[in-house]
């Protein structure tokens, strides 16, 4: 697919075919692409706008409820508020300089430059390329779609150290991390001049950019910040599994925008991404529940929801290039691995990742990234032809994973330290006991 993007000479000829084929992913920002007059198909525009709205919905209320339901009632609003304000802040950062840093047209392998800060030069007639030569979508729509990715990613991190960090510290940390980890990595993976894009890494909808990126930053955070007061002694059961389930379901619903929208067009390739997003998730939820049922006789709702999210994370990089049966297998694998991680490894290592951001997003993201290298092969049901080498691609995938882990890990560590010096990270123990809703927001979630 990535090759196709470079052979613009064949464009006209390939139009009919390409429309029905899966394409790599969300790059393509220059305003004109093909030789003939580029076509803006309103069907694509319609789908991309729907997708953008869906990804916002994933974030608020989706992610907010999934996380919020899992904390104690006294911290519910802190989760909702953090997710909301982080998303809003990143949206403003995105149009101010984030879009430019990621897709500004610069040719550095590490960032997009400042050519489009404050959306300089973009108007309602500007177009962005899709993966089918000759087909474009309005640049504003591309900006919106990518903006929603930037807005949800930092929000994923908060789950790891939920219930114990100061609100202003959360915001400061996120401003730094998003600027120095998210924007560059988005460029590296999705922009045609990006390091990992050039390397040939396959990351259809953001396994590295979103999940590994956020997951490792979360992990570093819970090591730096430490355990919750009362961890292991007090009952910290989810205050509302109902909200958590609603949130997880909304994540699945919105994830169609996330994964299928990453195709940038409404065609057969989008259909492939969609069916994979259905069946991998279903298989993962079934698997997690099955493992629980075998292991302790009862399948829990939290287990099914966790499996769902793990499946969604794993299929994210893979959904454009593997087949539905590969997707089912992937869903199975990721649930087994993540289950093992959050129940055995976490307990053994004794860190307090409140909502298992590392165990689900980072570990699941790595499983997905590596499986993409394998299951994309044609003989395993993927879309790649005979020239495709699993070994070669797996090496590339590994490099992409490793680079993301190191980059984001380092940026996160520095950002936590800066934040700690400026504002301090944790609230007082007494405040933690009282709950962040009162202390940080002056409200109570429920007055029944």
């Amino acid at each position: 697919m990535d090759r196709m993007l470079k052979t613009t000479g064949l464009a006209a000829l390939m139009l009919a075919v390409a429309a029905a084929l899966p394409a790599f992913a969300q790059d393509a920002t220059t305003t004109a692409a093909a030789v003939a007059a580029p076509v803006m198909d309103k069907g694509d525009v319609s789908w991309m706008m729907t997708s953008s709205a869906l990804v916002l919905f994933m974030t608020i209320p989706g992610l907010a409820l999934f996380y919020g339901g899992l904390v104690r009632a006294k911290n519910m609003l802190s989760i909702l508020m953090q997710t909301t304000i982080i998303a809003c802040m990143v949206m403003v950062m995105w149009v101010a300089f984030g879009y430019s840093m990621s897709f500004g047209g610069g040719t550095s392998p590490y960032w997009g430059g400042l050519g489009k800060i404050f959306l300089k030069g973009v108007n309602a007639s500007s177009m962005s390329a899709t993966f089918s030569p000759g087909y474009v979508i309005p640049e504003y729509v591309f900006i919106c779609f990518q903006m929603t990715f930037a807005a949800i990613t930092p929000g994923l991190i908060i789950g790891a150290w939920a219930e114990r960090v100061k609100f202003k510290s959360v915001l400061l940390f996120m401003a730094i991390w998003t600027t120095f980890s998210y924007f560059p990595i988005a460029h590296m993976v999705w922009d045609a001049s990006g390091l990992l894009f050039k390397l040939g890494a396959i990351d259809f909808a953001g396994g590295t950019v979103v999940h590994i990126n956020a997951g490792i930053a979360a992990f570093v955070g819970c090591l730096v910040i430490g355990k919750r007061v009362g961890y292991g002694k007090e009952n910290m059961a989810p205050h509302s599994m109902v909200m958590a389930m609603i949130g997880a379901s909304m994540l699945w619903f919105g994830w169609f925008g996330f994964n299928v929208g990453s195709n940038l067009e409404a065609n057969g390739g989008a259909g492939l991404a969609m069916i994979n997003t259905f069946v991998a998730t279903a298989a993962a939820a079934l698997t997690w529940s099955g493992v629980e049922a075998l292991q302790r006789g009862k399948a829990s709702m939290l287990g099914a929801a966790s499996g769902m999210v793990a499946g969604l994370v794993a299929i994210t990089p893979a959904c454009g290039t593997i087949g539905p049966m590969g997707a089912i297998l992937l869903g199975f694998i990721v649930s087994v691995v993540c289950y093992f991680f959050v129940t055995v490894v976490k307990n053994a290592m004794k860190y307090d990742d409140s909502l298992d951001v590392f165990g689900v997003h980072c570990v699941g993201g790595i499983v997905g990234a590596m499986a993409t290298g394998v299951f994309s092969a044609g003989w395993l049901g993927g879309v790649k032809d005979d020239t495709y080498s699993i070994a070669a691609q797996s090496l590339i995938q590994f490099e992409a994973v490793a680079l993301t882990l190191v980059w984001s890990g380092v940026v996160a560590f520095v950002a936590y330290k800066i934040t700690d010096v400026v504002f301090g990270l944790r609230v007082e123990a007494d405040v933690e006991r009282e709950g962040l809703d009162q202390a940080s927001h002056g409200e109570t979630a429920y007055h029944m």
């Binding site: 302790r296 829990s300 966790s306 129940t343």
Partner: protein, 112 residues
């Protein structure tokens, strides 16, 4: 007057209330409580974190009656709330020195 405090199984509440009404009790206060006793709670596991819930839900009844009615109330509750299984509950009797009906200011037995 006596204050009778009873902890019973929640699904027995309606039956007990009816039985007490039948013998002339005209009021009570009911509280949802967590009971701790011989009846054991349960364990919940959330992604590998195990929480022992040592309390079981019970209903706590408070009924103030004239001294004469007290024994009958205790008997009635005992009979009606009994299932024979562990956790059926307890009844305690306490002396009340004074009672007032807020609406009218009536006191003691008249207030009940």
């Amino acid at each position: 007057m006596k204050l009778i405090v009873a902890a019973i199984k929640p699904f027995k509440l309606e039956e007990v209330r009816e039985a007490l009404t039948a013998i002339g009790v005209r009021g009570m206060m009911v509280t949802e409580i967590k009971g701790f006793g011989l009846q054991s709670g349960h364990t919940e596991i959330y992604r590998g974190a195990e929480y022992a819930v040592n309390f079981v839900p019970k209903m706590r009844l408070e009924i103030v009656v004239s001294d004469g009615l007290a024994d009958q109330v205790v008997d009635t509750i005992t009979k009606t709330a009994r299932t024979g299984k562990i956790g059926d509950g307890k009844i305690f009797v306490i002396d009340v020195s004074h009672a007032v009906r807020v609406r009218t200011g009536e006191t003691n037995d008249d207030a009940l």
